[in-house]
Structures are given as structure tokens and as C-alpha cells.
């Protein structure tokens, strides 16, 4: 099976879907001539030209809204946000327009659009360029929200997102673009709303999504050395949320730690922790733990920024608490 980088998996997904459906266009800052700020769109402008791969001015609200209007009228745009930090400029368009147009019109419109780009902290970027905003988008009915941790998931989820008739927010990460993994040469899709068991286990359920999946898997390997068999659930889709997969796993292990790099207050992580407490109350042998980003803006200094994020050590400590070790 071919082994390719995460950015190239995304590139393949866009390329294949553009070839498949001429209504699919890519629009955003630096996506065309520059080949993408993170090279996700490399080669696509050469292949599809100015009409379908469209460079925009630095106007997030404007080009996001233009994408939504084009989707209302029948195109299937992929809007690239250079990072999710800048997507805040366009939040009104996403929340007030993309998410609500179908509802407010009594079902007259479909909004087939994908908003995508890197979310969450990278390195040495300070507060305005390092924030994990999954909770903001996941809060909003009318949107679908997905987050891919591996090249395989990135390609399968993005292809499905492009074919979906609803607005889908897809979160990637700067630090994921270079990672490599198996991606089949044959076409495949991954349904939105399906979690993936990245590592099966019996003793404790670790629920997470996005970039930190890799950190959680590393923590699980460390636990294995102490004969603690952790199950790692990668949510992949935050909205809709695969509650069945969560409940099935915690029913089996009776212990749960949720890991989310976002701030801890009113987050996807805190919601999932509540859900587990609510749905699995009779099965739990310990309190549900949440390992989140610290409740502060991101500092610049590298030691400080690492301290502000989840870590293998923090995950291990939380697992010890739920196992009463």
C-alpha cells in the first residue's frame, strides 16, 4: 500500500473530487499560484486552472461568504482557511449563514461546502496563531465537524465531506501535514459520524481526536509496558458524534479519560466527559477525567507552550487516577 504524507492525502482527495465533479472548486488565500500555504493544494492550479482553483485577497469573511453563496446556488466549494485562527474573521458567515440557511428557509436550500485548514497549536506561534477551536464549530447545529489524525482518515473524510450536501468543517493541523501513513490506491470513503478504534484495549478508554491522537497512542504504549491495556477511540467526527462507539467502549472498560487540546471550559472534551458520565453512569468504576489544554492563551516560549498543552505525562497521571493507582 502506498505510504504518503497527510498533506498529499488531502491533495489526492481534492484532486479526485474535482476530477469527479465539475461543481467542486477550491477557494482561499494562496491556494493557487503559491500552491497552498502548507502545500495541500500543490499542483491543483496547474491542473484545473484559475476558474477552479481561486486565489483570494486576505478577506476571510468575504471569501467564506462567497463560498456559501456559491453553494446555495449549486456549486460545491472547498474553502481553505490558512489557519483556523483566521477563521474567526469568518465566524459570522459560518454560524449565521452556512449553518442556518436550510433551517430558516424551511428546507429550501442545501449548502454543500467544506471549510478546511489547520486547527490547534503548532510551535512557537504565541496566542493568536495557536488555538484549538473545535468547540466553537461543534457547538453549532447545522454544521458537521470532522478532524482527521492520519493520512488515511484525512483522505477518506475529506472526500466524503466534499460529497456531503451540508456544510462540513474539517480540522487539520500544521504538525500533521508532514506525517506519513498508508493510503490505499483504490478509492474509499469514510462515513461522517463514525469513530475509529485506533487501539483496542480492555482496561481504560481514552477518547480523543485530531493531532493528539498520536500522543494518546504513545501514552497507551507506555501503559502497555505496565500491563494496562488502553483502548484509544479517535472520534474523527465531532458532529455528528458517534455516541454508540463511546458507550460501547466505556461499557467494556468502565473507566474513561477524555483528551482534547482545546480549552477545558465548555469544550468538546467536557461534553464527551459529561456524555460518558450520563450514558455510562452504572458502568463506571471511577470519575471521568478530562485532559485539556490549560485555561490560558498560548504563550510563545517553547517550554511554556508545551506546559499549556496535553502531554503523555498528563494523560498517564489521569489514567492512574481513574485506575486508583
Amino acid at each position: 500500500m502506498p505510504v504518503i504524507a497527510y498533506r498529499d492525502a488531502l491533495n489526492q482527495a481534492i484532486d479526485e473530487e474535482m476530477a469527479r465533479d465539475k461543481r467542486v472548486i477550491l477557494i482561499g488565500e494562496e491556494v493557487a499560484l503559491y500552491n497552498g500555504a502548507y502545500k495541500v493544494s500543490r499542483g491543483l492550479h496547474d491542473k484545473y486552472g484559475d476558474r477552479r482553483v481561486i486565489d483570494t485577497p486576505i478577506s476571510e469573511e468575504g471569501f467564506t461568504g462567497i463560498g456559501i453563496g456559491a453553494a446555495m446556488a449549486g456549486l460545491r466549494p472547498i474553502v481553505e482557511w490558512m489557519t483556523f485562527n483566521f477563521s474567526i474573521q469568518a465566524l459570522d458567515q459560518v454560524i449565521n449563514n452556512a449553518a442556518k440557511m436550510r433551517y430558516m428557509s424551511g428546507g429550501q436550500f442545501a449548502i454543500p461546502i467544506v471549510f478546511r485548514g489547520p486547527n490547534g497549536p503548532a510551535e512557537w506561534l504565541s496566542s493568536q496563531h495557536s488555538q484549538a477551536l473545535a468547540s466553537i464549530y461543534t457547538h453549532v447545529p447545522g454544521l458537521k465537524v470532522v478532524s482527521a489524525a492520519t493520512p488515511y482518515d484525512a483522505k477518506g473524510l475529506l472526500k466524503t465531506a466534499i460529497r456531503d450536501d451540508n456544510p462540513v468543517v474539517m480540522m487539520e493541523a500544521e504538525l500533521l501535514y508532514g506525517i506519513k501513513g498508508d493510503v490505499p490506491a483504490d478509492e474509499y470513503l469514510i462515513s461522517l459520524g463514525k469513530a475509529d478504534i485506533k487501539r483496542p484495549g480492555r482496561d481504560v478508554t481514552l477518547i480523543t481526536f485530531g493531532k493528539v491522537v498520536h500522543m494518546v497512542l504513545e501514552a497507551a504504549e507506555t501503559l502497555a509496558q505496565d500491563d494496562i491495556d488502553a483502548e484509544v477511540i479517535d472520534l474523527r467526527s465531532l458532529r455528528p458524534l458517534d455516541e454508540a462507539a463511546i458507550v460501547a467502549s466505556v461499557t467494556k472498560t468502565s473507566r474513561c479519560v477524555v483528551i482534547d487540546e482545546s480549552w477545558p471550559v465548555a469544550s468538546v472534551g467536557s461534553h464527551v466527559a459529561w456524555l460518558v458520565s450520563h450514558r455510562c453512569f452504572d458502568r463506571l468504576d471511577a470519575q471521568v477525567e478530562l485532559v485539556a489544554g490549560e485555561d490560558i492563551p498560548m504563550p510563545y516560549n517553547h517550554q511554556l507552550e508545551l506546559a499549556a498543552q496535553p502531554s503523555v505525562e498528563k494523560i498517564l497521571a489521569a489514567v492512574e487516577r481513574v485506575l486508583y493507582l
Binding site: G62, M72, N96, S105, G107, S191
Partner: protein, 335 residues
């Protein structure tokens, strides 16, 4: 300027003028009734009436072909909905929040839509629909369709970033759209001159490399001609433009606004420029309309509006279960 002179001498058909007059009158009577029903608490929430501005929606829509062209506007949208030919029953039912409303009682006064008639709303956040209209124009150009988008907004929207961002991209990409500023002179309670660095709002078009023009928005024929010209520019060269129609709303910003920021004298003076009276006067002078014919027309409009109220009254409330409908479109099933 032979072309300009030719325009001035244009004789309009009686059918066209009758149609313009009757549509304006229908909107006027519909809005009066909506205000009345709001007072009786049959209609709730925010309700922004279009009285005084009828010439703009009516004149503009009469100048386009809704089979290929599109209309989008803000929350003062009853007039545009009726101008594109939406059934007054369905519009009134939506104001009532009934299941028979165009948006199944989920949109209300600010969110009227008719996708079939290419009427794309009905939008509640000031200026935020201007990028949407621009995206609709991108779709037309991308698909090689020969349509135009009429994107309406008020003078209050013109200082939002969304306006400037969207017009810039329309200017760069030469999108087939006509931006229509209905300058009714007050953004809610604020005189536009107090918050705008320039008082000729059409001048903003220069920043985005498109023609701009100020037009008398109380003269339905002036509106009609200027939109014809702007749409011709779109069809011939895919050239967007910005039109500022000077107009005046007779009522407050919404039903809850007593409009104490304007004097009675100012409002009365403005009402002398009433768009319906201007056209009526012209038609009478040209011997195209008799007073009794006007009375007949008015009677018809009142009858249509009365029927709309009756329809809305008789319609069912939406079932509670419908709250979960229309959130997402049908799932695309993956193999």
C-alpha cells in the same frame, strides 16, 4: 448623447406601467396590513416594513428575467418577496409563523425565501448577505450562465467589512452582480450622514473598479431604467456596478421604533415624493389611468391582502416535531 435622449423619450407600455403601479400598491397595502396585524400580536418579533421604498424592489425586479437572474436582500424583505411574485398568502402565513409559510414558520418576517423564483432571502445580519449574493454571481459566471444577481441592502450595511470585501472580489473577478444600496437615510435611528465619511454612497464603487450611480429611488421608472442599464452591463461585459437609490421609509426601523429621531415635518415632506403617487400622477397626465381605475386597482390589492390574512389565520401552527426538520439535508450515504 443621442442614446441618452432616446431613453428619455421612451414610451412605456400601459401594461408595464399598470403592472408597476399595482405591484407597488399591493406591497403598500400588504405592509399596512402587516403593521396592523403586528399591533394585534398576530405577528411577532422584528418586523421591518417597506412602506415608502416600494419603487425600488418593484422597479428593479421588473427590469430582470427571474428565469436566469437572482435576487437577494436583507431583512426588510416583504416588498422584494412580493415583487418577485411570491404568493401573498404564503408570505403572510410566514409572518404569522404558520406551517403554510414559505419557510414553514421557521424564518418569519426577516427570512422569506423562494428558491424556485430565484429569491434567495431574507437575511438578518446587516451586510452579511452581500458575500452570499457575490457567491451566487460567482456560480453564474463559473457555470457560464448568462444571469445577473441583484443584491439589495440598506445604507446601514455599507460600512460593514462584508460589503467592502465582497465588492472588492466582485471587482477583481468581474462578477455578474448589481449591488443596490437602498439609502433610506437612517440606519435604525442614525442619520447616515452622521456615520458615513462620504455622503454620496455610490462613490464607494470607485474603490472597486466598478461604475457607481445615484438614482432617485422614489421614481420607479428611474429605478427600472438604471437596473436595465446595470444588467445590460453585466450581460455584455460581466461588469458589476453599485447603484445608490435615495429613498425614505415612512415607518420606524421596525415596528418597535417610534422614530422620534425624525420630525413630523420631515416625514410629511418626504411623503410628497411618494413613489405610488408619482407614477399615478404621470399615468393620469398621460391619460393611461383614470381615477376610477386606480380605485379598482386599490380594491383588488386590498382584497388580495385580506385573503392573505384570512389564509394565515386559517393555517395550522407547525407541529412541534418539525423543530428537528430542515437542520440537515439528506445524508449522503457512503458505501
Amino acid at each position: 448623447m443621442a442614446k441618452g435622449n432616446a431613453k428619455k423619450q421612451t414610451r412605456y407600455s400601459k401594461d408595464l406601467l399598470n403592472d408597476l403601479l399595482e405591484r407597488m400598491l399591493l406591497i403598500r397595502r400588504f405592509e399596512e396590513k402587516a403593521g396592523q396585524m403586528y399591533g394585534l400580536r398576530k405577528i411577532g418579533g422584528f418586523c421591518h416594513l417597506y412602506i415608502g421604498q416600494e419603487a425600488i424592489a418593484v422597479g428593479a425586479v421588473a427590469a430582470i428575467d427571474l428565469k436566469r437572474d437572482y435576487v437577494i436582500t436583507a431583512y426588510r424583505d416583504h416588498g422584494h418577496a412580493l415583487a418577485v411574485g411570491m404568493d401573498p398568502n404564503v408570505v403572510m402565513a410566514e409572518l404569522y409563523g404558520k406551517i403554510t409559510g414559505c419557510s414553514r414558520g421557521k424564518g418569519g418576517s426577516m427570512h422569506l425565501f423562494d428558491a424556485q423564483r430565484h429569491f434567495y432571502g431574507g437575511h438578518g445580519i446587516v451586510g452579511a448577505h452581500i458575500p452570499l449574493g457575490t457567491g451566487m454571481a460567482l456560480k453564474l459566471k463559473y457555470m457560464g450562465e448568462k444571469g445577473a444577481v441583484l443584491c439589495f441592502f440598506g445604507d446601514g450595511a455599507i460600512h460593514q467589512g462584508s460589503f467592502h470585501e465582497a465588492l472588492n472580489m466582485a471587482g477583481v473577478w468581474k462578477l455578474p452582480i448589481v449591488y443596490i444600496c437602498e439609502n433610506n437615510q437612517y440606519g435604525m435611528g442614525t442619520d447616515f450622514r452622521r456615520v458615513s465619511a462620504v455622503h454620496d454612497l455610490s462613490a464607494l464603487s470607485a474603490s472597486y473598479n466598478m461604475p457607481g450611480k445615484q438614482v432617485d429611488g422614489m421614481d420607479v421608472l428611474a429605478v427600472y431604467e438604471s437596473i436595465k442599464d446595470a444588467v445590460a452591463l453585466v450581460r455584455a461585459e460581466s461588469q458589476p456596478s453599485l447603484l445608490e437609490f435615495r429613498t425614505y421609509r415612512y415607518m420606524g426601523h421596525s415596528m418597535s421604533d417610534p422614530a422620534t429621531y425624525r420630525t413630523k415635518e420631515e416625514v410629511l415632506k418626504q411623503k410628497e415624493q411618494d413613489p405610488i403617487l408619482i407614477l399615478k400622477k404621470k399615468m393620469v397626465a398621460d391619460e393611461m389611468l383614470r381615477d376610477d381605475e386606480f380605485q379598482q386597482m386599490d380594491k383588488r390589492c386590498k382584497q388580495i391582502v385580506a385573503e392573505a390574512v384570512d389564509f394565515a389565520e386559517r393555517s395550522e401552527q407547525p407541529a412541534i416535531e418539525t423543530i428537528y426538520e430542515d437542520v440537515y439535508s439528506e445524508e449522503q450515504q457512503c458505501p
